[in-house]
Subunit: 123 residues, 2 copies
Amino acid sequence: MVKPTARYAYDGLDRVMHEKARLSLLTALITHPKGLSFTELKQHCGLTDGNLSRHMKVLQDAGLVAAVKGYDDNRPLTTVTITPAGQQQFLEYLSVLEQVLRDAAPLPASLTATFPDAEPDLV
Amino acid sequence: MVKPTARYAYDGLDRVMHEKARLSLLTALITHPKGLSFTELKQHCGLTDGNLSRHMKVLQDAGLVAAVKGYDDNRPLTTVTITPAGQQQFLEYLSVLEQVLRDAAPLPASLTATFPDAEPDLV
């Protein structure tokens, strides 16, 4: 028996990237191609040390981000960057999010009942 | 000390709605205002009986969806609908998803390096 198409299954919503904190980290990193420090990531994403470290491990294990040890003004500084594979996979993930928004779009149209400016009053 | 703004924290990505299967169910339901049967939901969302029942309970407990018992051709048929509160909260959730896409948008612009049709060859 052929399985019916699961129109709204969104298999591309990979759980590694879809988790809220990791989605936050990846968005921060894809918009900062030169990378961000741990301190910047915590601030931008509203994460504690523990949360950042836990989610960084998941993202690193999946090959989506990399932590590069370097120096800033002679002090050791680790910079986190999104990897090329991470960039590609995150863009694919984002295209599925876009699909979700397109699929859910019919509703705003139905809201024109509340804001019927498309239907001028002919009386 | 004032907490710095967490630009990419996306607090509106409520975990009840953000979970992949529940996001799938809510998208299917918001696009079917008259509701869907359990069978239709399983097909549209690619869920097993067990998964559907588990995620339905979470969504019902949160007041986002309702199951109405009725009849179809004299056979009992339960129809699941999104509640008005569910519709409102899901739209708010979707607006946060839109924000994620807007935030991540700078990258596609950089992809014009690969598809430089905005930069005609002047040679």
